[in-house]
């Protein structure tokens, strides 16, 4: 017995001696074998850390008054944990009853998951809070019932929340805002069109995989910044008003499409930009199907056209600025201008006799404009001036996918000597509505042409970046701008009385552009436009209106001019602009 105990103690003693020795040997082996040591060190470090994928929420987009235009909405993804699944029927029943999903389709999805030996299968996504609540209520009812089999089977039903982009005003302002979606099957979610695409990097931020410390001793700040809020220059009430008017007028005049832009000429701030075709960015995949193939997403910045007579104020400004014509310029209108093998007529084919510049604009005389550019303004001066007004170039508006118009230049490509005449009244070149409003704004803004913009502030939690208005060019002097402004104010009542709102002095010009077809111009289809700004003494807005191929009438003066008056009458209410008599009496010392 004693011997037995001795043996046991000896054995225990040996173990107690050998074990520490083994540990020491192991430690030594680790010390002399760097590869093994590094492996254990790395393993230790990895265990200390928890790798979290931090994807920041996309930044908000607000209108100029803080109204949300785009934000992030919590939605739910619903799936089935196939490891817990016994019978798919109760799940298919629950989802078809509460979410209205197709019973057979759910069954098929589950069976496909089982056949592929998956652990989970996603049944549906982007389920709203209200819908998920109805599912939760249904599950609670089942729990309260005595149907144990159903209860067990429904435990395989799982859901997880995540965020999706949300546009609370649906289609209002969608041509400016854009949307978040998939460009193709390969790329991830990204901003498409408008602000969403132009400011995609800013709004999306950087998702990062953060090594969050599990060890509380080493805890540190999670270095993820909130994405900035983008504050736009858009007034959502003005935007909604413009969309309402453009929809109504396109319908009334049976136009192909309509576009209206309202801009502050002093800053270039776009207050509203409406098109008759809009998509609902919350369901862009369905809306895009309704967009006609030959229309771009935002015609205001992507669809150049021959603007017609709305170009005439620019022609007069170029003539005056270059001192090619005097301010009291007159000419004798004979009803036809022969130039470079082309005969140019007035819109009505009439001859107006001796006419001054007010008459030229009031009667919208093509021969007058052609005379100025062909007989007075040198070719290089004309085209340099047109370039300085921004024609044929991008305006630089901060919206994605802007398209430059096309301006032919002398001795290059298809330029013809007769273009000198036709360009003067807005034919023979193309420009987008945003280009047209930008160049006309130079006349309203003392000769300073501002870059149009839709974002004024980018606000981050730690700093605010106020984007200052930027002057693109100064194509004419203040004196020339004032003179042309006066001409437009005097000529407008004679040209299009319907454009004048009560109580406010406005300056403006109508335009009827012919549409080029193979071998010439279309005989009946036109582009009806109007550009106007006011109040003339202190312009607060400039409005550009374009109706493409209206069928009720062809003239800008009858189609677009009354729309200007309508827009202005509602604009002055929304912008709180008092009538001239009140405003001017206020301004007096």
């Amino acid at each position: 017995m004693k011997e037995n105990i001795f043996t046991r103690y000896t054995f225990l003693g040996l173990i107690l001696c050998v074990l520490p020795l083994l540990i020491v040997l192991r430690i030594l082996s680790l010390q002399i074998n760097p590869a093994e040591r590094d492996f254990y060190e790395e393993t230790f470090r990895n265990r200390e850390k928890e790798w979290i994928n931090l994807t920041p929420l996309r930044g908000l987009i607000l209108d100029r008054n803080g109204q949300q235009l785009a934000n992030n909405q919590k939605t739910y993804e619903i799936g089935v944990d196939l490891t817990l699944l016994k019978d798919s029927a109760p799940i298919a029943e629950a989802l078809s009853r509460t979410l209205g999903l197709d019973y057979a389709e759910i069954e098929a999805q589950i069976q496909l998951g089982i056949s592929k030996k998956l652990q989970n299968v996603v049944i549906t996504d982007y389920v709203t809070k209200e819908e998920i609540q109805s599912l939760i209520d249904y599950l609670a009812d089942v729990e309260d019932s005595n149907d144990n089999k159903k209860q067990i089977n429904l435990r395989a039903l799982v859901y997880a929340d995540h965020f999706k982009r949300n546009y609370p005003n649906n289609e209002t302002g969608s041509i400016i805002i854009g949307y978040e979606g998939w460009k193709d099957k390969i790329t991830s979610l990204t901003g498409i069109q408008g602000i969403e695409e132009y400011y995609d990097e800013v709004l999306a931020g950087k998702s990062l995989v953060d090594p969050s410390e599990r060890n509380p001793i080493n805890v540190s700040d999670r270095n993820i910044s909130d994405n900035p809020t983008v504050i736009t220059t858009i007034d959502i009430n003005i935007q909604a008003m413009l969309e309402e008017i453009v929809d109504r007028e396109v319908k009334t005049n049976r136009a192909k499409q309509g576009t209206i832009i309202v801009m502050d000429p002093k800053t270039g701030d776009i207050l509203g930009m409406a098109s008759s075709f809009r998509i609902d960015p919350n369901r862009y995949w369905e809306s895009l199907r309704n967009l006609p193939d030959d229309l771009p997403y935002n015609p205001a910045i992507m669809l150049p056209y021959e603007p017609g007579s709305v170009q005439k104020p620019v022609t007069v400004a170029i003539g005056i600025e270059s001192k090619s014509i005097p301010k009291d310029f007159t000419y004798v209108d004979t009803g036809v201008l022969h130039y470079a093998g082309v005969d140019i007529f007035n819109w009505d084919g009439g001859a107006y006799g001796p006419t001054n510049l007010v008459g030229c604009l009031q009667y919208s005389l093509n021969i007058c404009m052609g005379t100025i550019t062909t007989k007075h303004v040198p070719t290089d001066v004309l085209y340099n001036s047109l370039r300085s007004f921004g024609y044929g170039q991008l305006t630089g508006v901060d919206l994605a996918n802007e398209v430059a118009g096309f301006l032919k230049t002398p001795n290059r490509g298809y330029w013809h000597e007769s273009d000198r005449a036709t360009n003067s009244f807005g034919q023979g070149f193309s420009a987008t509505p945003i280009q047209m409003i930008m160049s006309m704004a130079a006349i309203a803004n003392d000769g300073k042409m501002m870059t149009p913009r839709v974002v004024s502030i980018i606000s981050r939690p730690d700093y605010t970046n106020v984007i200052s208005p930027s002057e693109k060019a100064r194509p004419i002097s203040e004196d020339t701008a004032d003179f042309v402004k006066e001409l437009l104010t005097k000529s407008l009542p004679g040209e299009a009385e319907s454009a004048l709102p009560l109580g406010y002095t406005m300056a403006g010009k109508t335009g009827t552009g012919q549409i080029a077809v193979e071998g010439g111009y279309h005989l009946t289809l036109t582009n009806a436009s109007f550009v106007g700004f006011g109040p003339v003494d202190d312009p607060k807005f400039i409005v550009y209106i374009w109706f493409q191929e209206p069928k009720s009438d062809i003239w800008g003066s009858t189609i677009a001019a009354p729309v200007f008056a309508d827009v202005v009458q509602r604009l002055v209410v929304l912008m709180d602009i008092p009538p001239d008599d009140v405003r001017l009496s206020q301004a007096k010392p």
Binding site: L57, Q67, D462, Y463
Partner: protein, 167 residues
């Protein structure tokens, strides 16, 4: 003993406790400093453990706060989206119409000239107004480093000394 030696090195810097321990008043006349060695080491070890425990507790609190902040941020975003739905143009129009309001036309809007009135000036936000952050206090490395990093630090120091002493 190894642990105690490590504590010895760890507390060489930045420890207010160590400074207190090293004051003359701590050493009583007639008592050998060698006889205080082991209680002194124990004292240091207990301080180390106590501080480590405190740091761990605060670390856990910070982790809890971080998780709570994440949840609150998500809830905030969801609440903002809900609010935007209630304030959307369509809902606001429906609500105002149900209350009997209609759009004001230009004829219905009356402006009056008020003497000596001047419109309030618009306020421009300052650009890049970076807030100044107070410098956070740092926990000395001795409190947080692992044995491996301590050894490599000490060895690194030793190697530098050896290199520097070579002619």
């Amino acid at each position: 003993m190894t642990c105690i030696l490590i504590f010895e090195v760890s507390f060489k810097k930045n420890s207010s406790y160590l400074r207190e321990y090293e004051t003359d008043s701590f050493i009583q006349p007639g008592i050998s400093t060698n006889s205080l060695e082991i209680p002194g080491q124990d004292y240091r070890a207990s301080i180390y453990l106590s501080i480590t425990a405190e740091v761990t507790r605060y670390g856990r609190d910070i982790q809890d706060i971080q998780r709570t902040i994440s949840v609150i941020e998500m809830n905030n975003a969801a609440a903002l989206a809900d609010l935007s739905k209630l304030q959307s143009l369509e809902v606001m129009r429906m609500r105002s119409e149900s209350l009997g309001f209609i759009d004001a036309s230009i004829e219905e809007k009356q402006f009056m000239a008020v003497e000596n009135f001047s419109a309030p000036l618009s306020y421009d936000l300052p650009e890049r107004s970076q807030p100044e952050l107070a410098e956070a206090s740092m926990i000395p490395i001795e409190y947080t480093e692992t044995i491996f990093s301590w050894i490599s630090r000490i060895l690194g120091k030793y190697m530098n000394l050896v290199r520097a002493s070579k002619p």
